[in-house]
């Protein structure tokens, strides 16, 4: 990644995501939106899939966005962004686009990416549009009342994966969305977390720069206090623990090469530097029912995933 911001004092000051939005107190995705807009700057078009960040930011007749913004539906944010990109390209060629290099960014949640918007995302990646697609992952359909998605982890409680005698929360594992995106051989894809803002902002800058070549993708970990069932002051801590326990590894895929980023790279080099998964799980109500055996099972999955990524990084 290109290091544009070395320290906290290098971060951009101008706010392009206005206060007064209706996201819940302590919303993780809202932190992501602030930094996406701040980092991308005013010459940006945002195309938003239906989801928490659409519902809470654009309550008619008001909007929190201070950049041109388009919402169409749940399943077609990537398709609509493809059209915006094509329009900019054509009008630029004809000398009618006077805004210079304009960023086109899709913002979609896990429901709009893992599930409903997957085909339009795949189409956009395959056609090679000059668009940055940002997935903010809060691991369920939250604004509609916490229903499971393809991004919900195994054993998590949601209203559609209740905890009882027959099942213990979600049965299936979280989908490897980065794997699906990388299979399209895009120029750049990376994971980031709202706890590591400098890393995240540098990845946004890098991904935007690479859109000159083709589509890029960011997967941002963005915890949800009401959906994960934890007190709202712990949102950033939750994201930090997701990274530090290896639950959500930070890495980038840059022109076919995978690179692990700190602190994930440190814990792969020295497993003692990885915190026990329990620290991430224990303050979340959605995992309150887990037994030691089930936590052990999840921990094995985390370790196996880190080993898998380390192998990919060594190729």
């Amino acid at each position: 990644m290109k290091v544009v911001y070395k320290a906290i004092w290098d971060l951009p000051v101008e706010e392009l995501f206005a206060s007064g939005h209706r996201a819940c107190a302590g919303c993780g995705p809202a932190i992501a939106m602030r930094w996406i807009t701040k980092t991308a700057g005013p010459n940006t078009v945002v195309v938003n899939a239906t989801g928490c960040m659409e519902v809470t930011t654009t309550q008619y007749p008001e909007t929190a966005w201070m950049v041109p913004y388009l919402h169409v539906a749940f399943e077609n944010a990537a398709a609509a962004a493809s059209g915006v990109d094509s329009a900019i390209r054509v009008t630029s060629k004809k000398g009618l686009w006077r805004s210079g290099k304009t960023n086109v960014i899709v913002i979609a949640g896990d429901g709009g990416t893992y599930d409903i918007g997957l085909q339009s995302l795949s189409g956009m990646l395959e056609r090679g549009h000059h668009v940055l697609y940002i997935l903010y992952d809060n691991e369920a359909y939250m604004n509609t009342g916490i229903q499971r998605s393809g991004g919900t982890p195994r054993y998590a409680w949601t209203t559609t994966t209740p905890v009882g005698r027959a099942i213990r929360g979600k049965i299936q594992a979280k989908k490897d969305i980065m794997g699906i995106v990388m299979a399209h051989r895009v120029p750049y894809a990376a994971t980031a977390s709202i706890s590591n803002i400098i890393d995240m902002s540098n990845k946004i800058k890098t991904a935007l720069e690479y859109t000159e070549e083709g589509p890029t993708f960011l997967h941002i970990m963005a915890p949800c206090p009401p959906g994960w069932r934890f007190p709202e002051e712990r949102t950033v801590e939750a994201a930090r623990l997701a990274v530090e326990t290896g639950y959500f590894p930070l890495y980038e895929y840059d022109h076919g090469k995978i690179r692990l980023n700190p602190p994930t790279s440190n814990m792969v080099a020295d497993p003692k530097r990885r915190k026990p998964l329990r620290e991430f799980l224990k303050f979340q109500g959605r995992f309150a029912h887990l037994t030691d055996a089930e936590i052990g099972e999840l921990e094995k999955e985390v370790v196996a995933n880190l080993e898998y990524l380390a192998k990919l990084a060594s190729l």
């Binding site: 206060s19 007064g20 107190a25 302590g26 993780g28 809202a30 602030r34 709202e232 002051e233 801590e237």
Partner: protein
């Protein structure tokens, strides 16, 4: 709030005023209020960085607090602060205190 007349609304669900959500003062959501104790603040910028509402204002200038000179000051705009407490939880010097709303 006065509602616009139907012929004043642009066709197509278009919102023409960027950042108009600022009309919606979310400060009323708060049950706990963050108070920054300026004498304990080391101006690290962390609360400003993490606030989901972008409602911690950074002011540049010369500020003297207990004989120490600082270039920045952090203040909370209570019109929008929802009282989530992230700033207090992340502050490395525990300079932010959450007190019950009166």
């Amino acid at each position: 709030m006065s509602l616009p007349k139907v012929h004043e609304i642009p066709i197509g669900g278009i919102i023409t005023e960027p950042g108009s959500s600022r009309r919606n003062l979310t400060g009323g959501w708060r049950s706990l209020k963050p108070i920054i104790h300026d004498d304990r603040c080391i101006r690290c910028r962390i609360c400003w960085m993490y606030c989901p509402e972008g409602t911690i204002k950074e002011t540049k200038g010369e500020f003297v607090v207990k004989g120490r000179k600082y270039q920045y000051k952090y203040e909370i705009d209570y019109n929008y602060c929802k009282g989530c407490g992230i700033c207090a939880h992340e502050c490395p010097t525990k300079a932010i205190e959450m007190v019950p709303e009166a």
